[in-house]
């Protein structure tokens, strides 16, 4: 009994050592506090036979109803005595043995049964899965605690029956969670890889699936430990728990009820113990990471997937955005300066983590927590957005600047119709009435090429195909005819043929409405086909900007050069090696002191490693942040005239 009861904390400890590296430190204090309290209380309770200051049932009528030491009592009876003069501390320690033993036993039994069934059902599926699912559905459709009350009243409670009955109520939770988790893990490619290697089924289950499923149920185990202890105390309170002479916490509270006013400590001490154990178990469960990779990854992805901007319609100067976390500050945008003129298409290129999406969000004041714009100006038509309050900014979003995101499925609210989502913008900014807004929404859908818009306006996003959804998203962003549209990887999730259609749509709408467009993408091909000017981002900096033809034909920055050389071309008939950029994309949390690209740069010089280059114009239209690029005087004369003119009157 003792070993089982102390198992959860120690299993937790070993788990901890394994995951420490990947896991944010945030949960740590909770886990330490929870585990410490549980361990201390377990020791006190399970070794109570040796530790109690008084025999728990020793009656001492001379010391009846003594208050605890902190309420005027003596150190002899630290928590006071009851109406028979029995020492409450001793009784609480002995009583806890029952509660904690039942809790631990029930958790071990239900975890074992539930997770085994869940793993097998999830992996093998078919009949076994059908049976397990059916059983669990039936059990979940029952008010299980009521049935437990009934069971125990009938069977006659003792530690083992109570533990087993409570375990039977909980196995379903483990089985369902493990099954669901297994179904997810099963589709991960490492499982396929193992099968392709010829790994046996038992090895697959034990070596691959189980270690990945197990951590998630530790959280559940902790939470249900608390639940079991609460249930047991409720049973005892009702007189259906473990019978005397052993006091259990619930029973002690019930006994103390009648003297609540005169001698509150009789009921409060055991009740406090119940609450402490349950609280610590929950704390421990909370602190454990529910989905290790998931949490870390999504955090990183989120941090990275935020960027964009541009113009003399829009003029961004020295924008800096930082994310603060427990691990320190990550500067996602370092010093971004950009401009977009009226009617211009600016292509913002970069790899993941370069800061292109964060640029977009920063300029709209939408950087997700814990990110913050720490310096810089964003001038839209001369007004600085950074000095505006949230209200003024929101008047401007959707009205003067529209945003199209990559995946319309997640970027649209799944429970509102397409029409509602377009109308709310129209009503908010243009003050249209319900009917007017609806008519306008249908027009817009028609304009972006959605067939039968009068009917489809009432569809929900999931009823649209991917391409149609992206068109609807564009309609939504353009509903108030903004002067600037920011499209963040608007076609990345689409198939090639659909992508071509959406790009065509964007470019014709841009002409029609005469708006400016910031096109954020990693695909240089899209930029080449659509943009007037390009800005290339690397590690939170603009490293090069200029007219599209010039940047593509004569890139000035070594990173741009490398990027262009590294993509295979469909017109290239040789099968020689690609000119890959060596090394890895930079870690934003540990940028080198000098140029962020220096470690990968083939033309690196000593200066590049110590000083960070700034964006310097090498002609009227173009600028690059590189020490190797010639100062303006050398090149301006012969390159500007040819490269920029055709762009303007296209």
């Amino acid at each position: 009994m003792t070993e089982q009861a102390t198992m959860p904390p120690s299993a937790t400890a070993s788990l901890l050592s394994r995951v420490r590296r990947t896991w944010s430190r945030r949960g740590m204090p909770r886990v330490i506090t929870g585990a410490t309290v549980l361990i201390v209380m377990s020791i006190l309770c399970f070794f109570s036979a040796w530790l109690t200051p008084h025999p728990p049932n020793a009656v001492d009528l001379s010391a009846r109803l003594q208050p605890p030491v902190f309420a005027g009592g003596t150190f002899n009876h630290i928590l006071g005595t009851d109406e028979l003069g029995r020492d409450i501390l001793s009784r609480v320690m002995v009583g806890g043995r029952t509660s904690m033993a039942i809790g631990a036993l029930a958790v071990v039994v239900s975890l074992t049964i539930g997770s085994t069934l869940g793993l097998l059902a999830g992996y093998f599926g078919r009949r076994l899965d059908a049976v397990v699912t059916m059983l669990s559905e039936i059990q979940l459709a029952l008010p299980s605690m009521l049935i437990i009350f009934f069971f125990l009243a009938v069977i006659g409670p003792n530690i083992v029956t109570i533990a087993i009955v409570l375990a039977l109520a909980d196995w379903v939770l483990y089985a369902r969670m493990v099954r669901a988790r297994t179904l997810v893990e099963k589709t991960r490619e490492y499982v396929d890889a193992a099968r392709v290697l010829g790994v046996s089924t038992s090895r697959l289950l034990l070596r691959h699936l189980w270690p990945n499923v197990f951590p998630t149920i530790m959280v559940l185990a902790m939470v249900s430990l608390g639940g079991v202890i609460l249930s047991e105390s409720a049973l005892s309170f009702l007189g259906l728990g473990v019978q005397r002479p052993w006091p259990s916490w619930g029973r002690m509270v019930a006994d103390g009820q009648s003297r609540l006013q005169a001698a509150w400590w009789i009921a409060v001490s055991p009740a406090f113990c119940i609450a402490m154990v349950v609280f610590s178990a929950n704390l421990l469960g909370d602190g454990l990471p529910p989905d290790l990779e998931g949490r870390v990854m999504s955090h990183i992805k989120q941090t990275i997937s935020a960027t964009a901007q541009s113009v003399p319609l829009l003029d961004i100067r020295g924008l800096r955005t930082e994310f603060r976390s427990d691990h320190g500050t990550v500067r996602v945008l370092n010093d971004v300066s950009l401009s977009v003129s009226s009617g211009e298409v600016l292509g913002l290129v970069g790899e993941s983590g370069s800061g292109k999406s964060v640029t977009a969000l920063s300029l709209l004041g939408l950087v997700p927590r814990p990110g913050r714009v720490t310096q810089g100006q964003v001038l839209l038509n001369g007004r600085d957005l950074m000095t505006m309050d949230e209200r003024a900014l929101s008047d401007l979003r959707g009205r003067e600047v529209g945003l199209v995101l990559q995946d319309a499925m997640t970027a649209m609210n799944p429970v509102l119709t397409i029409g509602q989502q377009i109308c709310e913008t129209l009503r908010r900014h243009l003050g249209l009435g319900r009917a007017q807004a609806r008519r306008r929404a249908i027009d817009l859908l028609d304009r972006v090429g959605i067939p039968d818009p009068g009917r489809r306006v009432d569809d929900y996003p999931h009823q649209f195909s991917g391409g149609m959804r992206q068109r609807a998203m564009i309609a939504m962003a353009l509903s108030c005819e903004p002067k600037l549209l920011i499209a963040d990887e608007p076609t990345t999730a689409l198939d090639v043929t659909i992508q071509a259609q959406v790009l065509d749509l964007l470019s014709s709408l841009k002409e029609e409405m005469g708006m400016s467009l910031i096109m954020i993408t990693h695909d240089l091909g899209i930029i080449a086909g659509l943009a007037d000017r390009v800005a290339v981002m690397y590690a939170g900096n603009i490293v090069e900007t200029g007219p599209v033809r010039q940047v593509f034909k004569a890139p000035a920055h070594p990173y741009t050069q490398g990027l262009l050389a590294s993509i295979p071309s469909i017109t290239d008939t040789t099968k020689s090696d690609l000119q890959a950029i060596t090394g890895l994309p930079p870690d934003l949390a540990a940028l080198p002191q000098g140029c962020a690209f220096a470690p990968r740069c083939p033309q690196r010089q000593r200066r590049c490693e110590t000083d960070r280059p700034h964006l310097i114009h090498h002609d009227a239209q173009s600028a690059a942040a590189c020490w190797l690029v010639d100062p303006p005087s050398d090149r301006a004369a012969n390159s500007t005239s040819q490269t920029t003119e055709p762009m303007r009157n296209r």
């Binding site: 008010p143 609460l230 009740a271 927590r369 959707g398 799944p414």
Partner: protein, 308 residues
């Protein structure tokens, strides 16, 4: 629906069989050892306990279908005569429990929704941390103890609310509060987690990018999505509420079916137990079917017949 019917039948059978598995029989328990063997036999015959268990089961089912759940063993108008019809007994008590559960759910929502939403809007703030601690505390204190504390404070010390019973409109407040605490802990947690998750999602980002007012973003865009998991959890945890009501009803002397159930189990009052527990299961099933129906209304993805 089908699953509900299967479950209900399963419950009926389970309760019927289990209660008969125990050695002590109702006649002995009721007469408390003061009857002759002949008297006991006569009682058993009166209650039909002399027949085989299969026979008893079919009689029970047949009667139940006709709306007759039998007569209580322990509650008798005249000693030795057939007892009060169980159906009347239970129907007398049912409204009290229903009322208690309903008020408790309303209290829970009043506690959980505003706090949960606020916490989610300011993740990792002091407010958020306080709300999380509150949720943990609410979840950790057993209902019978929070009930006792409420009683001590409001009834015995302040003397503004009754300690129990069912006499005045105010008497529901304390039991419903005690019952709502652990339930609101669950709702609070779900509201906070779901709202925080939803507020981070892209569609909220695009709603903000459209320049919508923040109240509309929170109350229309986010809350409507959060209602889906909230309803699920209300349905799943409704059983806990019923179980909690047993404890709370006992503590506050609330005349609901919870107290009746415990008394009847201890007295081996078969007919009462055989009606009360399946009835609780039925209530649970109905709540969950309602939740499923509401899902369809809230989540268009679950409606059939998409057009795409």
């Amino acid at each position: 629906m089908l699953l509900g019917a299967v479950t209900l039948f399963f419950t009926l059978t389970l309760v019927f069989v289990i209660i008969r598995m125990v050695p002590s029989d109702p006649a002995t328990v009721l007469m408390m050892g003061e009857a002759t063997p002949e008297q006991l036999d006569r009682l058993r015959e009166l209650w039909g306990l002399d027949k085989s268990i299969v026979e008893q089961f079919f009689i029970y089912l047949a009667n139940l279908v006709q709306g007759n759940a039998g007569d209580s063993y322990q509650f008798q108008r005249v000693a030795g005569m057939p007892g009060v019809p169980v159906f009347d007994l239970v129907m007398n008590r049912l409204p009290a429990t229903g009322y208690l559960a309903l008020v408790a759910i309303i209290f829970s929502m009043l506690i959980a929704l505003p706090l949960g939403i606020l916490a989610a809007l300011f993740p990792d703030s002091i407010l958020d941390k306080l709300v999380l601690i509150l949720a943990s505390v609410l979840a950790s204190v057993p209902a019978f103890f929070s009930g006792m504390l409420l009683m001590l404070f409001f009834s015995l010390t302040l003397r503004i609310l009754p300690t129990g019973g069912y006499d005045s409109p105010q008497s529901v407040i304390l039991p419903a509060l005690a019952l709502s605490f652990s339930f609101s802990a669950v709702l609070l947690r779900v509201t906070r987690t779901e709202m925080a998750r939803i507020m981070r999602s892209e569609f909220i980002q695009s709603a903000r990018a459209k320049g919508l007012r923040s109240w509309r973003i929170v109350l229309v865009h986010a809350l409507k999505n959060a209602m889906i998991p909230l309803l699920t959890i209300i349905g799943l945890r409704f059983g806990d509420l019923l179980a909690g009501s047993v404890v709370v009803e006992t503590l506050f002397r609330w005349p609901g079916i919870g107290g009746l159930m415990i008394d009847s189990i201890i007295a081996r009052d078969y007919p009462v137990v055989q009606l009360v527990i399946p009835l609780a299961a039925l209530a649970f099933i109905i709540v969950n079917i309602t939740v499923d129906v509401l899902f369809g209304a809230l989540d268009p993805r679950l409606r059939t017949g998409g057009r795409s």
